[in-house]
């Protein structure tokens, strides 16, 4: 990387994004330290980490449209890192649930997973994210082959939808915030559909 002409700049970008991505975690750690997270800090942390997992998932999905519409290439350079941060926050979110909400009462957790749709969906999302995170390296791409790797990683669209569904089903009555996530997700996914349709039309035209 350092041998490339823009290597230094690139490393700077990665370092910046890496540090910025840790900021939410820092915020909650600081909030716990200073008792600044309100009357129910555990709930605030659990929900906050979930929100950031979802945020990172959607930011990851924005990389391709940003190149397409704004001509930016740098989001694609850090996309893998952002995707891994989505997994990182999802793991922490799950951990807070298993630990501070259920205190590793596996029977209660099992019941929760089977009885409560929003937990079922959340858990499914996490399970689907595991293979994506595990294959986020050059070796996996080589081993799987670019095409199969890409097919596998299209599952991130499903993960995005399931994550927003998980959020929607958790909310008691006011679904305005989940709706905002649905709008953003729909926008991000529909741009891809539009390209697919255009591509298909172009190919037809050439024939």
């Amino acid at each position: 990387m350092l041998l490339r002409p823009h290597g230094l700049k690139l490393n700077g970008l990665k370092l910046f994004v890496f540090t910025a991505s840790l900021a939410p975690l820092g915020w909650y750690a600081w909030g716990i330290q200073t008792d600044n997270l309100g009357a129910n800090p555990i709930e605030a942390v659990t929900r906050g980490l979930g929100t950031w997992a979802l945020n990172f998932l959607l930011i990851t999905l924005a990389a391709t449209p940003l190149r397409h519409y704004a001509g930016w290439t740098w989001p694609l350079i850090v996309r893998r890192m952002l995707g891994l941060f989505a997994f990182f926050y999802a793991s922490l979110h799950l951990t807070t649930y298993l630990w501070f909400d259920q205190f590793f009462d596996w029977l209660a957790i099992g019941k929760d997973i089977f009885k409560r749709p929003f937990i079922t969906v959340g858990m499914t999302t996490f399970l689907l994210l595991i293979p994506l995170a595990a294959t986020s390296n050059a070796r996996a791409i080589r081993k799987l082959g670019g095409r199969r790797w890409q097919q596998l990683h299209r599952m991130v669209y499903l993960c995005g939808a399931l994550a927003v569904l998980h959020y929607t089903w958790m909310v008691k009555a006011d679904i305005r915030k989940p709706l905002i996530y649905w709008v953003i997700l729909t926008a991000l996914l529909s741009t891809r559909m539009v390209w697919q349709i255009r591509k298909a039309q172009c190919q037809q035209f050439r024939k």
Binding site: G38, A39, N40, I42, E43, F100, D101, F103, A108, K111, D112, K115, R116, P117, F118, W169, M170, K172, A173, D174, R176
Partner: protein, 264 residues
């Protein structure tokens, strides 16, 4: 303003009260927003003076009473009650109030009255939540008449010895400690005695999730989460939720013969 200390009550728990800061900064009062912090931030605009409560419906003497008159009906008592929210958290709150029965006696309920409906304030200009919808306003709740007359059921006008903060339902709210918190309507303006079961706001919003009775019950789960445990605000470990929120000795007999799974 100072209102208390209020007469001590045998119904008070000896458990440690939740801090005033937490009691007044973590609230559900959807008229002021759906975040827990919203009521503390926005409810200062609520107009609490003058305040009247009208009591009507199946009563001999319907009446509209001002707050000053209401506060003279009975000596204020300190009632330190557990409060269990349907969301799975709980607090211990030192309320200042008087039994609801003192208020209902004033209007002389008719023999045909079977239920009591509680209707809460709507001030569109002070309540951002009213303008946004979310729930069907005004927020209404209801009790069976025998529940309303039970000595544990109080109207609270204060907490921690002071006048009720707006975010906690000033100037007058209902407190029914053996039911989930949402049953205890805030900022009440109208009480109506009826012969049929009132349709409450949460029943209209999600009938499969919120029943008319909504007694605290660790064995009947909310469709989306377990009610077996709760987090007492300020504590790290969760507690086991108690049937009728620990008030079973006083209230369980109200429900003999009633299938609490069906009538949740």
């Amino acid at each position: 303003a100072r209102l208390g200390p209020g007469k001590a009550s045998v119904f008070s728990t000896t458990e440690a009260p939740t801090s005033l800061k937490n009691v007044t900064s973590y609230n559900n009062f959807y008229e002021f927003g759906t975040n827990k912090e919203d009521p503390a931030e926005y409810a200062h605009t609520l107009r609490v003076k003058p305040w009247t409560v009208s009591i009507e419906g199946l009563v001999k003497k319907p009446k509209t009473m001002g707050m000053e008159e209401i506060l003279k009906l009975a000596p204020l008592e300190e009632r330190i009650y557990r409060l269990r929210c349907v969301e799975g958290w709980s607090m211990v709150i030192p309320w200042l109030g008087f039994p609801l029965v003192s208020l209902l006696k004033q209007v002389e309920p008719l023999g045909s009255a079977k239920y009591v409906e509680f209707i809460t304030a709507v001030q569109p200009d002070t309540m951002p939540g009213i303008r946004r919808g979310v729930l069907d306003w005004p927020y209404t709740e209801g009790l069976r008449l025998d529940e309303a007359l039970h000595p544990l059921t109080i109207m609270a006008a204060g907490l921690y010895g002071d006048v009720l903060p707006n975010q906690n339902g000033a100037p007058l709210r209902l407190v029914v400690p053996w039911k989930y918190g949402f049953k205890s309507g805030k900022s009440i303006v109208k009480i109506r005695l009826t012969d049929s079961q009132p349709r409450t706001t949460w029943m209209k919003s999600a009938p499969s999730e919120y029943g008319f009775y909504s007694n605290v019950n660790p064995t009947v789960d909310h469709p989306r989460w377990s009610q077996a445990t709760e987090r007492r605000i300020g504590e790290f470990f969760k507690r086991k939720t108690l049937p009728f929120n620990g008030y079973a000795d006083q209230v369980a007999q109200l429900y003999t013969g009633l299938d609490l799974r069906k009538y949740f």
